[in-house]
């Protein structure tokens, strides 16, 4: 039996997550496919709310047909996915988009269970179901730390991984590619809010973890001086609307067994120091800022406890952001040649996201009002290396 109305049916995992929700919104508005979404304890109404918001923010109307094409089913335990047999048969599912994943860097058990074991089980069932295409949402950093261009190929074991997360994503990519099911692997870099209005509905990962950390840790009281890990290394930030457009183009046009490094154009990307600078000048406004290139340069024992906590919290992401990543973008260039246009990530476009984050924060608003007299009119920026030696100092 095929899908009830004869349209294609796609099984979408991770539909309640940030990227999964963006993919659901993209597919509902651009494809005629039925979406079968396995979830745990989520009502259709709760599922639809963020998806509807993403669609309406794009200036589109959430059509009644979208709701009719969404089918939420209970996600069984990973080891008994065969319980989905009937659903797959009833809806005539022929494709899987596997977006479910664990991002908790330090929860190795869940990383293994979700990123590796769930993927392995889903592929095994997919083979049995006769799935014709398996699209896997991985990460641009699945290569681990390598000192050459990240190819659009499967990766060998690197000398070092940023986290166990990247290791499990790399392992899952291999499982997908070796399953025998035609596949598409998409590797987005760090996804941030919409390029036009800055809205963002994801969890506090990546840049948002840093911003939220500064909000909750550094906006309690005003800090006279601030120590920041801020190498002048471009950060691979990708706006969510760029992710959606590139996803759709890749989904429609890339041939089977392709891997796409879904990364922004390098030329205009802000670097990590610029990202700190933007936040510091807009929000914190200390009198002196010390910039360091490496975590080991920072005299962590001698700095404010909350600043140290922030650096500890964001250390993994700051380390990832500080690595000189270079990506092969052959497939993206090919999609551009077919007419794909993506919003660029620039200092101006990231500042739209930052402004939205600040405007939506009661904590930051209160901090700015209460510390209006302290916040420095002019900020001195000092570049420092190990042992605290100042390399250069300049005022704002």
């Amino acid at each position: 039996m095929g899908s009830p109305n004869g349209a294609r049916s796609i099984l979408l995992t991770g539909g309640t997550g940030y990227l999964g929700g963006l993919i659901a919104a993209t597919l509902l508005t651009n494809e005629e496919a039925e979406l079968v979404v396995p979830v745990r304890g989520k009502s259709l109404e709760d599922f639809i709310r963020p998806v509807r918001a993403e669609i309406e923010i794009e200036g589109l109307c959430f059509q009644p047909s979208y709701e009719q094409r969404l089918h939420l089913v209970e996600l069984p335990p990973f080891e008994s996915l065969s319980k989905l047999d009937q659903v797959v048969q009833d809806f005539g599912v022929t494709e899987i988009i596997h977006c479910a994943g664990c991002l908790d860097y330090f929860d190795s058990q869940t990383l293994e269970a979700v990123n590796v074991n769930f993927t392995r089980s889903l592929l095994a069932e997919g083979q049995r179901w006769g799935i014709r295409r398996f699209t896997y949402i991985s990460t641009a950093f699945s290569s681990g730390y390598i000192n050459h261009v990240v190819p659009e190929k499967l990766h060998a074991e690197p000398p070092k991984d940023p986290t166990y997360y990247t290791q499990t994503k790399r392992e899952a990519e291999w499982l997908v590619a070796k399953s025998g099911i035609p596949f598409l692997i998409l590797r987005p870099s760090i996804v941030i809010g919409n390029s036009r209005d800055g809205h963002y509905s994801g969890k506090q990962y990546g840049l948002y973890q840093l911003w939220a950390g500064m909000e909750r840790l550094l906006c309690r009281t005003w800090h006279r001086d601030l120590h920041a890990l801020a190498p002048t290394q471009p950060v691979s930030l990708l706006h969510q609307d760029a992710f959606q457009r590139a996803f759709l183009a890749a989904y429609r046009m890339l041939p089977d067994n392709s891997i796409l490094n879904l990364v922004p154009q390098e030329g205009s990307l802000p670097d990590l120091r610029t990202l700190w600078h933007m936040w510091i000048t807009e929000c914190l406004r200390p009198e002196v800022v010390y910039y360091y290139d490496r975590m080991s340069d920072i005299p962590v024992r001698n700095i404010n406890t909350l600043q140290r906590a922030l650096l500890g919290l964001a250390s993994v992401n700051l380390e990832i952001a500080g690595h000189p990543w270079r990506f092969e973008t052959k497939n993206l260039a090919w999609l551009h040649a077919q007419g794909l246009e993506l919003p660029e990530t620039t200092e101006a476009s990231v500042s739209i996201c930052q402004r939205r984050f600040i405007e939506e924060s009661e904590t930051i608003r209160k901090f700015m009002i209460e510390n209006a007299a302290c916040r420095a009119k002019q900020i001195e920026f000092v570049e420092r290396v190990a042992n605290g030696e100042a390399l250069a100092a300049l005022a704002e």
Partner: protein, 88 residues
């Protein structure tokens, strides 16, 4: 230098954690599963603990802190190696 016992450190850790999470806390309480602390919440907790005990918890220990017991156990050598332990 006075040695600070695990029990003393645990009692202080429970108090600090409970104040932050605004929930009852025991030695076995899991910071994430029971208190729903996110990564920033755990960073706040670490900052409060460092302020109280006048120690620096190494960054590489942070991922291992799952329960209140983990925090207290990690603190014992740090507090007792610190010159400030008599003040606790």
């Amino acid at each position: 230098m006075t040695t600070v016992s695990y029990e003393t450190i645990l009692a202080d850790t429970i108090e600090i954690t409970s104040n932050l999470a605004k929930k009852p806390v025991t030695e076995k309480t899991n910071l994430v599963a029971d208190l729903e602390l996110d990564s920033i919440g755990i960073a706040e907790l670490v900052a409060n603990i460092e302020d109280r005990f006048k120690v620096v918890i190494p960054m590489d220990q942070l991922p291992t802190l799952r329960t209140v017991r983990d925090v207290a156990q990690n603190l014992v050598p740090l507090v007792n190696a610190s010159d400030n332990s008599e003040g606790i």
